[in-house]
Symmetry: C2
Subunit: 84 residues, 2 copies
Amino acid sequence: MKFKAKINVMPRQEILDPQGKAVSLGLKNLGISTIENVRIGKHIHLEVEADSSVKARKQVEIACEKLLANLIMEDYAFEVNMLD
Amino acid sequence: MKFKAKINVMPRQEILDPQGKAVSLGLKNLGISTIENVRIGKHIHLEVEADSSVKARKQVEIACEKLLANLIMEDYAFEVNMLD
């Protein structure tokens, strides 16, 4: 069975996010002053071949821990759905 | 009122995604061969000050169109929720 995973990897709350700060500043320069606290992470889509949703989730978890997220600086969250 | 927006910016379907390809390869090298079709975009959190949810959505839309997404290569989607 094939599953689709959607993963969010975000900088941890206590970590500075220079990219987010730059975007905040950019928005102010564009005249959009109502937006603040911008934080930028990664959004990842991928497909997993697995026997069950549980096994698919396990695969995605391993991928996040080993490659997709830097656990010292980032948190991750994901959802897995069966592909039709 | 304060609103929190969660935005996803993804490379368009017909656009090559070299970062995704690199991650696919990296996962294979780590022995995870069940994962494919990796595509990587941005996940953005921000806070908007606005009178209503409709106005907050409008602000976020302007920010996406003007700065956060490159509409030639990327699509965006977002949700806006009131902050408590």
